[in-house]
């Protein structure tokens, strides 16, 4: 089978196992095994499809007979294959993990959870491969709706429902902007095909308008500051394996959309496009990690950290776009390489961390880090894989987070010596910003790991925690291995991703690795060899060991003492540092940035209270207009409502269908 056939069979497997899980919803165990194992099998198919696309040439397939005005074209170029690969890797781990984890949701609709989850993954696979704007929007909407139902899955919690509402609102504002940018392109070219968009030859002014619409449209989904407010509420609200998918890959489909539209199709002709992306990237990275540091809810901390990582990815994208517009092929390739590498890395370690957080919630039944502590004793395996993820996300060598941030630094280094004055000034400053973000990320994850897994238990829940089932450990273990391989295997992974980056930038491939070293196009500029760093770490370990042995330390013996030293008083677990006070000095030092959040809250609350007051004042005006205006309208509405009631069966799938029909009708009305 070729790449496209594999992809379609994967998507159909996802959809079929999802439906089967829905049909089996009365029997919970079969439902979760079917959706989990089926999802894993479908992920393998999707991964094979990505491999086939990498090995073979770009493949595409047109399916006819769906709709009169849009060709249903699936295309697998390097970028699409890369995204399919990233989605399938995480989806595989999440599916395995879900088999055990969904047990937590027994009696609350495991079947429905499997259905929405698998449909959600299938929709993401379609979004990154479909090559027609009309179908792109259909699948985009399907992805949004499926994920919305996953966010509000814990409906008994008011918090989840309001988070879902916010997500729904902002996602659709974003979708509206994306639609507008596609419609402008349609207006100019008379077609929805990406291929025809490519040859449009629009004036730069209109292109810039399309760019801005698309950037903020996709930015709303990616969670850039200031459109991020839904992300830290919605991602933690969902079940943890879904949080992993939301943060790991769903927000990356927005990055994909941005690259596809603004880089691949429009070709990033103006330098300020890239600069806008770079600036918003830097802002998101900084504020994301600043707010993550302050969180005491483990899953919200991870969600804020996703805002940070999206920022880092966008910094790479921005540099790459500027490289394209300045006709500097090396800069473009290294920028996109850094972005795509970090995209993949973040999918792996954030997936791992969210699943680790899920395991903690599964065992300790709390998300509040102040009530955890000492879980490493009860959950040694979860604790170990979480540590791997925490080290990787803090960009500690030699794991994968360091490799991609190294490329971001190198791309900024190249950018610093271009002819463009703005870049000469700002590129080094963004590198410094990245250094600050890295240090704060380390602090955030020392806090997350330290207060959750080490120290003494600070609550009954934490004391009674037990290790999670094998399927959950297997899912997390797979990701921990991926994190390690993407780091140590950098010399072999980099040329692949570099090839995709060159294809995106439409320039010849650069030499990025030789033997066991990687370098940014030019060896003299700087080299890195993660396998050797690892070997040196392992080899140098003999040094202290030999020293201990030579000085007789091995004979000294060990004793485990019960309590840490507490100045002679009786030790109590509360004496250890908790999540809240760990970040306290940072709050003092970066007060203006936290103040910003408080200040931004005011206008938001203002809008909310205005809406509320507006609603409350309506009844007062009611009697006046009632007889003249309202009553006829009410009568009409009631009649219409009667008809509508017949359509309202309370079945969520029917609603999905309605939205699809409405969208189709709308498009036909406008463009026929």
């Amino acid at each position: 089978m070729d790449a496209i056939q594999l992809l379609i069979s994967s998507a159909l497997t996802f959809a079929a196992t999802g439906l089967l899980s829905l049909l089996l919803r009365g029997l919970e165990r079969p439902a979760r095994v079917v959706s989990g194992l089926g999802g894993a099998a479908a992920s393998v198919l999707a991964f094979l499809s990505a491999l086939a696309a990498f090995v073979g040439d770009s493949a595409s397939l047109e399916l006819t007979g769906f709709s009169a005005f849009g060709r249903f074209v699936l295309a697998m170029d390097g970028l699409s294959a890369f995204m399919v690969g990233a989605i399938s890797l995480l989806a595989f781990a999440a599916s395995i993990y879900s088999i055990g984890y969904v047990h937590e949701y027994r009696g609350r609709g495991c079947g429905e959870l499997g259905f929405f989850n698998n449909i959600f993954i299938a929709a993401m696979l379609m979004v990154v491969t479909v090559a027609n704007a009309f179908y792109f929007l259909i699948f985009w909407e399907l992805m949004t709706l499926a994920s919305y139902f996953l966010v509000i899955f814990e409906q008994e919690k008011k918090e989840s429902v309001s988070a879902g509402y916010l997500y729904f609102l902002i996602a659709h504002i974003g979708t509206a902007l994306i639609m507008l940018s596609f419609f402008i392109l349609y207006q100019q070219t008379g077609s929805f095909d990406f291929d025809s968009f490519r040859n449009a030859g629009l004036p730069l002014g209109i292109q810039s308008l399309i760019f801005l619409l698309a950037f903020f449209g996709f930015g709303a989904k990616a969670g850039i500051v200031p459109l991020h407010i839904w992300l830290p509420r919605a991602h933690p609200a969902a079940p943890s394996h879904v949080s992993a998918l939301l943060s790991g890959v769903m927000i990356k489909t927005a990055i994909y959309g941005l690259i596809r539209l603004c880089v691949d199709i429009l070709g990033a002709p103006l330098w300020w496009w890239g600069f806008v992306v770079l600036c918003f990237g830097g802002l998101s990275a900084l504020l994301g990690i600043v707010y993550a540091l302050d969180e005491r809810d483990l899953k919200r901390l991870l969600a804020y950290s996703s805002v940070e990582n999206v920022g880092i990815i966008l910094m790479g994208v921005g540099v790459g776009m500027m490289g394209m517009s300045l006709q500097l092929p090396t800069l473009a390739v290294i920028g996109f390489l850094a972005a795509l590498y970090h995209l993949l890395n973040h999918a792996m370690f954030k997936g791992l961390l969210f699943m680790g957080a899920g395991a903690v919630v599964y065992s300790a039944h709390t998300r509040n880090m102040n009530e955890m502590g000492g879980l490493a004793r009860a959950m040694p395996w979860t604790s170990f894989v979480f540590l791997v993820g925490a080290v990787a996300i803090s960009a500690i060598p030699p794991l994968n987070g360091f490799v991609s941030e190294w490329f971001v630094f190198q791309s900024l280094f190249i950018a610093s010596s271009t002819e463009l004055g703005v870049l000469r000034v700002f590129a080094p400053l963004f590198a410094v910003l990245l250094g600050l973000v890295g240090a704060m990320a380390a602090m955030t994850f020392v806090k997350a790991y330290g207060t959750t897994f080490t120290g003494q238990p600070r609550s009954v829940h934490a004391r009674d925690a037990v290790e999670v089932p094998g399927s959950m450990l297997a899912g997390m273990g797979a990701l921990a291995i991926a994190v390690t391989l993407l780091g140590l295997g950098a010399p072999w992974v980099t040329p692949f991703i570099g090839g995709v980056a060159a294809q995106v930038a439409n320039v010849p491939t650069e030499t990025l690795a030789s033997g066991i070293q990687i370098f940014p196009g030019n060896e003299a500029q700087g080299v890195l060899s993660t396998p050797i760093i690892f070997l040196l770490h392992a080899g140098l370990l003999t040094f202290p060991l030999v020293a201990v042995f030579a000085l007789g330390g091995h004979r000294a013996g060990q004793r485990v003492d019960a309590d840490p030293w507490a100045c002679g008083y009786g030790y109590q677990p509360q004496m250890g540092i908790s999540a809240t006070n760990f970040a306290q000095p940072m709050l003092a030092a970066f007060r203006p940035l936290y103040l910003l959040r408080t200040l931004a809250q005011k206008p938001l609350d203002g809008i909310a209270s205005f809406a509320k007051r507006f609603g409350a004042s309506l009844p007062a005006a009611e009697p006046v207009v009632e007889r003249t205006v309202s009553q006829p309208i009410f009568a009409f509405v009631r009649t219409v409502g009667g008809w509508v009631q017949r359509m309202q069966m309370g079945d969520l799938r029917m609603y999905c269908l309605y939205i699809f029909i409405a969208l189709a009708v709308l498009l036909i009305v406008i463009f026929k």
Binding site: Q410, V432, M440
Partner: protein, 312 residues
Amino acid sequence: MTTGSLIFIGLLQAVLVAALAPLFSGFARVLRAKMHSRHGPPLLQNYYDLFKLMKRQEILPAHGSLVFRITPYVTIVSALLVVMIVPILAADSPFGWVGDMILVVYLLMLARFFTSLAGLSSGSTFGGMGARRELFVSALVEPLILLVLFVMSLLAESTNLGAISRGVATGAIPYLATVWLGMVSFAFVVFVEAGKLPFDLSEAEQELQEGAFTEYSGRGLALMQWGFYMKQLAVVSLFIAVFVPFGTMTTLSLLGGLLALAIFLIKAAALYFLAAILENAMARTRFIKAPSFTWIAVGVGLLCFAFYLVRI
């Protein structure tokens, strides 16, 4: 130089730094005692301490996890890797084919990550406070290290530490205002990284500055302290390699090596001396006021960058 001789020099540097680091810290202790008009410990006291601690029974806190046990080894290994990359004896970076200045900065971060995690994992109040301090200070100075090293890399057109060191040594990077300002702000970084004032209370060293070490004892404490001494010497050697890299050897020879070592020892001793004077002459301040000090250094760093932009 051939890869073989570079690897040899790198390993030699690691052994030298491991062997000499306690001596330099002992030197700083003696200086401080003299300035306090105390008799002070013998110059080799740190070695005696390490030997003795190694033979003592180790007591582990009941809730210290895996992290607590591996951290002493991690700190030593990362410090050794740093000094294998920094050009100390040769003009080239001995392990420059493994990584560059960005790697060095993040290797320092690796040590800090595990040290503070170990402090937190001990469950001790002081351990946790030490961990918090360590990371807070790192967040304040990390951007500064990167800013200065980034500017120097731009001048050398490479992030390789050997290229920067050679550029300054041969005069390809002249001592203009940029380099001088970079030197000042980097000196501040070295001062802070070496765990000196103003953010450390020498009378409360046990509890605060070495807070992450609180629950360590015996072999673990010996290794942690040894690693800390190595890290001090590593950042000092980084400063020397970037800003005063004269007297290193260009080809591998015994005489050249001995000469380079002697010159390095003199330069390092001079820096420890200056740091000791500064440390004892300065007032102590509340830890929470640290940002106001680092902001001055960041200001100097930004000035260095501005001068780089206008090429002065």
